[in-house]
Symmetry: C2
Subunit: 393 residues, 2 copies
Amino acid sequence: MKKGIDNSKILDAIKTALPLENKFVSLHEPRFEGNEWTYVKECLDTGWVSSVGKFVDLFEEKLAEYTGVKRAVAVVNGTAALHICLTLVGVEPGDEVLAPAMTFVATANAITYCRAVPHFVDGEEKTLGTDPYKLGDYLKEIADVRLEGCFNRLTGRRIKAVVPMHTFGHPVDLDPLVEISERYKLELVEDAAESLGSYYKGMHTGNWGKVSALSFNGNKVITTGGGGAILTNDESLGKLAKHITTTAKIPHRWAFYHDMVGYNYRLPNINAALGCAQLEQLPGFITRKRALAERYREVFGQIEGVTFFAEPDFARSNYWLNAILLDKDFSGERDNFLEMANSAGVMTRPAWTLMHKLPMFSTCPRMNLDVAERLETCLINIPSSSFLGGLHE
Amino acid sequence: MKKGIDNSKILDAIKTALPLENKFVSLHEPRFEGNEWTYVKECLDTGWVSSVGKFVDLFEEKLAEYTGVKRAVAVVNGTAALHICLTLVGVEPGDEVLAPAMTFVATANAITYCRAVPHFVDGEEKTLGTDPYKLGDYLKEIADVRLEGCFNRLTGRRIKAVVPMHTFGHPVDLDPLVEISERYKLELVEDAAESLGSYYKGMHTGNWGKVSALSFNGNKVITTGGGGAILTNDESLGKLAKHITTTAKIPHRWAFYHDMVGYNYRLPNINAALGCAQLEQLPGFITRKRALAERYREVFGQIEGVTFFAEPDFARSNYWLNAILLDKDFSGERDNFLEMANSAGVMTRPAWTLMHKLPMFSTCPRMNLDVAERLETCLINIPSSSFLGGLHE
């Protein structure tokens, strides 16, 4: 075993946790076993499929209720939600925004939509997300706090916000991050695209950011086809979020008057209908996903050279995408394993290419990224659909 | 009759054309009487509701076939389509883009998303859209054509593109506009959001722009809930349009690598399913809409003080939204008529507030806008749903 890792043992471990034989297993598939048909059919029967309709309002209400925020605004996808979150906290052209190096590209793209510059920060092994202590040490070195905000001494640019991302549904350590954002006058925006159903110290993610973004893409815990939401506990920001995402039109019986540059980021009613039905099933999805994670944890406890990633002790995670980490000595095996598993019909994938390795972000400022670099080489996502967790019940 | 117009006669005329009694009549409602439910159900049954799926591909193929372009790329809405069209023709921050003063706000908003400046141009009574001859005269006055492109002598900014919009489905006079765009080195982008099913001199709108934008919002000729498309006859631009609207990800079995800043503008498969079914019914919708327009034309031929707007002689229009124009003497009656008709359950609306009258565009450059100003005071849209045209059949 010293010479290499036994890839087939890892694959067998996954198969043990998944009681399926000789079948293609995808990474994450949605299930529509509730009121999806009923609600979608209602849209078609009544003709209310588009940007206004009762399911949009209902979905927003139910999302706010579930996550415990004061206002949820449904939008067309998670990227749009992030773009508006950054706009709402005042990110301006030329600002820098602190964001994880290990994230889906939407986090960094949304920053560029504001003509701001992503500034990449490192993660920690405990959460896979932003390391607040390492970030604090780094800001001590490079940041100047002035009356007008926080400035990067090296680039001269204002650092306006910090965007932690709850990787694969595991919450970052929010308390110290909130403390740092206050100390450095940074707006906190949670990229909660992956963490619907995940809690930090008993409260749902998305409650710490001034505004936060959710995603309901097809591969997420619940899906609306494509969709997202903006969460906030600030009612005036919530109102503004609704206004700016619906073309900033002033309500009137017939006149078309818009009082600012707005966006057509409305979630269509037919997609919201799907969302309402999915949201009803979310508690069950989370139970099954956590059951699957628990089976993975048990199985991988027996396998040398690999660790199953478990939720941090302060968190209750949705385990959106389960992850295993190859031990340092074996991380060179990652691609061999991916090749073997995917060829065998068990879908697995690595972490996203780190943001600073993509050509459009290669010259962006960044701190030392040792942990993210290490995680990139050794992390593998394994099948995580909620229905896989229910088969043992 | 000299003292004023007889609003109740106009309302009666509308009701005569619409064989409905004592019933609320909306401006434009979709109808789902084809394969909508079958296709949407297939998405739910198979789990393919999101950003990849057979209906996205099929919808793109069928759209290209119907409009006669080489490539159609389905996106999340018409605004997103316009944004990408402008990006693809090379509109850059600080450029000016010529756009109609009388349009839905999306045309101007999309220009600002590129950090470019809308430059408003006048319309003509014949098409309700951009007047190519007046534009030509104006450019002769203010534009310098250099090797690097066209420059506005007054602002010093480059004028990169011209975006005509086919108002309510009526094509602008494209031939002279193409000639002017070539003479002034302007990229031509057709805002064809309202003109699916409309032809200019026998060819479908969207074939003259280097790239063109369609919309399938809930109030359009066909709907996908929310949706849009980019049309082009340039295959490499079409390929780039697909790439940039799908996060610019390089295809790979597992790796996440993106080679440029992209957008999450994908149309979900469930919305494309709706689109496929709607597209099958489009020829019938157009027939019924044209029949309704013909009835309106006949009925309004008898009414003093008001003219039904008929397609220009070079065009075959979809008559997306029917429009009547109050004679000059009576345009002060517009709001009284709107009040009366809407209170009576017959939905009517004025033209959009002209773009330069919105606060965020009030300082943008503009030419003399006499025709648009006049149209704004006297134009009224009247009920136009396709099914209203079928009731006499």
